[in-house]
């Protein structure tokens, strides 16, 4: 069983973001980075499938040089090898640019199963995995909360809205986008971190001929004119002012 898993290197969730002076994207200096959290669930699921069925896990990322850090972390968690589709163009490019580059890198791998997270914490398209499936000619499903492999097929439990689910059956090879919460993600052990140094990260230069079908013209913080009344002061002072207001509103006794 060869499982490929796509992971993305994104700013840490609690980052204080600043917008570049030209408005084109966020200022990347001074940010700390992590593996996109939804992708960690996909990686964990890939590792569990391999641990149960044998085979290998190939971690793949499309990103600039810094994204190699995500692959090293993935290898430390237990992936067997990694492919870095490396280009600075992914910063400005959209999901289709990433999916095309990932498809070119993954096609020769002929993985039995391709997993991705459900969406990224930075651009949030929730599209790269599904586009990748189309480009690789694979059947797919999204928001998967349980994966069971049976000979030549995969059974997947897909989350629907309002607490409903469906069980689907897809022939292999297939692509699944993994819903956050499907599993409990392991931590990299010291042994894993040491072992990762000996694992292969193959660097691939993508052919990005067509450019991005969409262009981000500007970023801005949303206007907060309809936003909350903020109570200032130290914690106790602010809490006291809030409490007084809630009492006046009749919301607390």
């Amino acid at each position: 069983m060869k499982v490929a898993v796509c992971i993305k290197h994104v700013p840490a969730r609690d980052s204080r973001l600043r917008i570049r002076s030209d408005g084109s994207w966020v200022e990347e200096r001074d940010l700390s980075w992590e593996i996109n959290e939804p992708d960690l669930y996909a990686l964990e699921e890939a590792l569990r499938i391999r641990d149960a069925a044998g085979g290998e896990v190939v971690a793949v990322t499309a990103g600039p040089d810094r994204a190699g850090e995500a692959l090293r972390r993935g290898l430390a968690m237990g992936a067997d090898r990694a492919i870095h589709v490396a280009s600075e163009a992914f910063t400005a490019g959209d999901a289709q640019v990433a999916a095309r580059a990932l498809a070119d890198a993954l096609a020769p791998e002929a993985a039995d199963l391709v997993l991705t997270g459900v969406q990224s914490d930075d651009k949030g398209y929730a599209a790269t995995g599904v586009m990748l499936a189309e480009m690789l000619g694979l059947p797919h499903s999204t928001l998967i909360m349980e994966v069971r492999l049976e000979d030549g097929r995969v059974r997947a439990r897909r989350e629907m809205e309002s607490g409903w689910f469906e069980w689907l059956e897809l022939p292999l090879p297939a692509l699944l986008t993994i819903q956050s919460g499907i599993n409990q993600v392991r931590y990299a052990t010291l042994k894993g971190i040491m072992g990762a140094k000996k694992k292969e990260i193959r660097r691939v230069e993508p052919a990005l001929a067509d450019g991005s079908p969409t262009v981000v013209e500007a970023l801005a913080f949303p206007s907060r004119d309809s936003g909350a009344e903020i109570f200032e002061g130290d914690a106790r002072g602010a809490a006291a002012k809030l409490w007084e207001r809630l009492r006046r509103d009749g919301k607390v006794r």
Partner: protein, 329 residues
Amino acid sequence: MSGEIWAFAEERDGAVRPTSLEVLGAAQDLAGRVGAPVAAVVAGGNAARAADALAARAVARVLALEDPSLEPYTPDAHARVLREAIEAESPRAVLFSHTYRVRDFAPKLAAALASPYVPDCVALRVADGEPVFVRRVFQGKIDATVRARGARPVLATLQNGAFPADAVRDGRAPAPIERRPASVPPDAIRTRVREVFEGVKDRVDLSRAETIVAVGRGIGKKENLAIVQELADALGAEIAASRPVCDSEWLPMDRQIGSSGQTVAPRLYVAIGISGAIQHLVGMKGSSTIVAVNKDPNAPIFSVADYGIVGDLFEVVPALTALARGGAS
């Protein structure tokens, strides 16, 4: 080349989903500003009833794409039927609602068409006669203004609740309905739907709570939940959580508020360490009073909250608990 603005209407059991009306209203508005006709498009095994409902709205026509293969839903059938219609008719743009189903097939459709794809938009503008899309990035913290390049039809999805459903205009007379039987060969559908079922039936019903204290990932770890539970107890409130807290199994899944959990509207909703991803906001923004405590002043939760404290929840929450206990005595 039709050059229309299409509004894709999702139908369930013959009815048009309410979020699709938001899309139709947005399509009417966009079409008016770029000078294009609007068409409503519905796909299903039998779309007749949904098509009739759409024809009452102010649209140039309704396209009903019908094929038995569209039931039950699969991305293969939906993407194929829509791709054929879009290739045949060349609309200028196709708008969808950003539902789980659309997220399952629309990116595939965009890739197959080599069309620009702009998901989860919160506003549509027009500049130089062209649509300009505004979408949230970085989990709602920043707005990105996006334009499509090239001449292919643009596919865009609209965030649920971002466009008013009551903006939809009715037509003076029913619009013509064009029924288009599709023909999807059986082997084009690779996914088999084996079972559809409701996940948790006996869950805690949070919708009846008068006060809810909800906790997000800002709490850091499970052991820290005690301070939030103490505040909930002092307020006589139910404790609830955003998805990441339940994903980490710090609280049971049936206490989750949001698009994949429960929808609530209590008299008082206190959001502790919740940044306010849209998936959470849709489940609680109808609450009558919303209080947010978060260390990040740019957290989107503050845009729906009535009252906020920007600060360290580990100091603010115990202070509120002390006030609540004092008030009760």
